[in-house]
C-alpha cells in the first residue's frame, strides 16, 4: 500500500530535502522500516535504542496520534497520510 509521509525539517537532511515521501507499507512500523531502508539512519533518528518512538516525536495517521490507535503496530491504508511531528506545546 502506498502512502504519503510528511517529513519534519530536522529529518529532511536524510531525505535530500524532500518535505514528503511516498512509501509502501502495511503498518506504521513498516513505514519506519521502509524509510530506513530508503534513507539509512532514519529509524535511529526517530526511535531510541530499544526501538520505541523517541519521547519528543509524535506520529499522526490521518491526523490522529498513533498512541490513540495501536502505536507502531497501527495498520495503514492505501492513500493514508503519515505525519512525523516533533512534540511541542505550551498553551
Amino acid at each position: 500500500m502506498s502512502l504519503k509521509v510528511v517529513i519534519p525539517t530536522p529529518l529532511r537532511k536524510l531525505t535530500s530535502g524532500a518535505e514528503t515521501v511516498e512509501v509502501e507499507a502495511a503498518t506504521v512500523q513498516e513505514v519506519l522500516d521502509n524509510l530506513d531502508s530508503k534513507y539509512p539512519g532514519f529509524r535511529a533518528s526517530v526511535c531510541d535504542e530499544s526501538g520505541s518512538l523517541r519521547r519528543f516525536i509524535n506520529i499522526y495517521l490521518d491526523g490522529e496520534d498513533v498512541r490513540f490507535l495501536e502505536n507502531l503496530a497501527t495498520p495503514v491504508a492505501d492513500g493514508s497520510e503519515i505525519a512525523i511531528v516533533p512534540a511541542i506545546s505550551g498553551g
Binding site: 511541542i88 506545546s89 505550551g90
Partner: protein, 412 residues
C-alpha cells in the same frame, strides 16, 4: 548586555548558539537557554533588583534577550497577596496568592512568556509572529504583537470561550479557528512553522518564551523577603510553567539570592477531564499517556503535554505531588477564592484552589507550610463556565426593598 551562553537540549545536552529553533535536531528534545551564572552573580544583587521598577525585567540578566527590552515593559510585578481568609477555609496558616489574574497587558501569566518571546522576535527581526493557543496565549500574543507593530497569526480550537475570541480579535490579529482540540491546532502550527519564516512563540521561539515563566519564582521569592516557599501549587497544561518555576527557584539559590537549604515542593494541578501529567505522577511514571480533553478548564486542555515528562519527573523529585479535580470542584474553587479573598480567577485558578484543598486534606500540604497558589488567569475571561442565578429585581421603592431584604441589615 546578554548573559546567555546559548541553547541546550534538555534531553541529550547538545548545545546550540542562540537562534530560531523549535527543538533539538538530534533527538527532538526541547531546548532551553543556558546562562553565564558566575557573571550574573556579580551584577544581580538584591539591592540592584530592589532598585528597579516592578516588572519581569527586574531580573533581565536571567532572561534570554540580548539588548534592553522594547516591549511588554509593564508585564509582571503582580501582587503576592496574603490569603488568611482562604487559608482558614483550606487549613493553611501561611497562605499566599501569586495574583497573575491582574498581569499586564492581558490578565494572565502568559504575558510573562509572550513579553520575552516578542522582544526576541524583534531582535531576530522577524516579519510576523504567531502561536497555537487555548486562549490566554492568544490574547497575550495579539496584544503584545500589536504594541510591537508586528503582524500576528493566531490559531485556536474552534470551540473557545467567546471572551477569549473577542479578547484576541480586538487587537487586529489574524485569528484562525481550527476544527479540533488544542493538540490538533498545535500540530498544524508546528507544520506551518516548518514552511513559513515566522516566529511562533510556543514553537520556534519556545526556548526563549518558556523562560518568562521563571519570573513567577523570582517575584515570589523577592516578595517573601528572599525566601522560597515550602510549597507551591501550579496549574498544568503543557507542563512548562511548573518546571520553569522550579528552574527559577534553583537559579536564585545558585546566585546566592536565596538560602541553599530552602526547598520548594512542587504541586501540580489539572482538571480530571484532562489529567495526563497527574496520571503519570500517580503511576510513578514519566511516561505520559495522551488523553482527549473534556473539561471546562479549556486553558489547561492540552491532552498531549510536551513538557509533561519533565513535570512528572520534577514533581516527585521535589517532594511534591499532583492531583486533579472535577469541573464541579473547579467552579467551587472559583467561588471560594472570590468569596474569601476578592480575587476572581478563571477556571485554571479554580483548579489550583480545588486541588490545594485536596492536598491539605490528604496531608500532603501541612498546616504550617508556607504555601503559594499560582493564580494564573482572570475570571472575566471564562464567564461561560459559571452559572449564576440572576439578581433579584425590585421596583425603585423603599417598600419593595424592605419586602425582599428587610432583614438584610441584621446580616452578620
Amino acid at each position: 548586555m546578554s548573559f546567555v551562553k546559548g541553547l541546550k537540549c534538555r534531553e541529550c545536552g547538545r548545545e546550540y548558539p542562540v537562534k530560531l529553533l523549535a527543538g533539538c535536531e538530534d533527538c527532538f528534545g526541547p531546548l532551553e537557554a543556558d546562562y553565564h551564572y558566575e557573571a550574573i552573580a556579580k551584577v544581580l544583587k538584591r539591592d540592584v533588583i530592589a532598585s528597579r521598577p516592578k516588572s519581569i525585567w527586574k531580573y533581565r540578566e536571567l532572561l534570554p534577550i540580548e539588548s534592553e527590552p522594547q516591549i511588554g515593559l509593564g508585564t509582571g510585578g503582580t501582587p503576592l497577596l496574603r490569603a488568611d481568609r482562604l487559608g482558614r477555609k483550606l487549613g493553611i496558616d501561611n497562605l499566599y496568592l501569586k495574583n497573575d489574574a491582574v498581569n499586564c497587558p492581558t490578565l494572565s501569566f502568559k504575558d510573562r512568556v509572550t513579553a520575552v518571546a516578542i522582544n526576541k522576535a524583534l531582535e531576530f527581526k522577524l516579519e510576523a509572529v504567531g502561536c497555537a493557543s487555548t486562549g490566554n496565549l492568544a490574547n497575550s500574543v495579539a496584544a503584545i504583537a500589536a504594541a510591537a507593530g508586528l503582524p500576528s497569526f493566531i490559531f485556536i480550537p474552534h470551540d473557545l470561550e467567546k471572551t477569549k475570541v473577542i479578547g484576541t480579535q480586538i487587537y487586529g490579529t489574524r485569528l484562525i479557528a481550527v476544527k479540533g482540540n488544542y493538540d490538533a491546532v498545535n500540530r498544524l502550527c508546528i507544520q506551518i512553522v516548518d514552511r513559513y519564516p515566522w516566529g511562533f512563540v510556543n514553537v520556534n521561539l519556545r526556548p526563549f518564551y518558556a523562560e518568562g515563566s521563571k519570573t513567577i519564582a523570582y517575584e515570589v521569592a523577592e516578595q517573601l523577603g528572599w525566601h522560597a516557599p515550602d510549597a507551591i501549587v501550579v496549574p498544568m497544561a503543557g507542563g512548562a510553567m511548573i518546571s520553569k518555576i522550579h528552574k527559577g527557584f534553583k537559579e536564585l539559590q545558585r546566585l546566592g539570592l536565596t538560602s541553599e537549604t530552602e526547598r520548594t515542593r512542587l504541586y501540580g494541578a489539572q482538571a480530571a477531564g484532562c489529567n495526563p501529567i497527574i496520571d503519570a505522577v500517580k503511576r510513578g511514571s514519566r511516561d505520559i499517556r495522551p488523553v482527549k480533553p473534556n473539561t471546562i478548564a479549556k486553558s489547561l486542555a492540552i491532552g498531549n503535554p510536551a513538557d509533561g515528562y519533565f513535570a512528572a519527573r520534577l514533581i516527585p523529585e521535589s517532594g511534591g505531588w499532583a492531583e486533579d479535580c472535577t469541573d464541579q470542584e473547579i467552579v467551587g474553587g472559583i467561588h471560594l477564592l472570590a468569596e474569601t479573598e476578592g480575587v476572581f480567577t478563571e477556571t485554571a485558578g479554580g483548579v489550583t484552589v480545588a486541588v490545594a484543598q485536596k492536598l491539605v486534606q490528604q496531608g500532603r500540604i501541612k498546616q504550617t507550610d508556607l504555601t503559594v497558589l499560582a493564580i494564573t488567569g482572570n475570571g472575566l475571561k471564562t464567564l461561560d463556565a459559571l452559572d449564576m442565578a440572576p439578581p433579584q429585581v425590585i421596583e425603585p421603592k423603599l417598600a419593595a426593598f424592605e419586602e425582599v431584604f428587610g432583614g438584610a441589615y441584621h446580616v452578620a
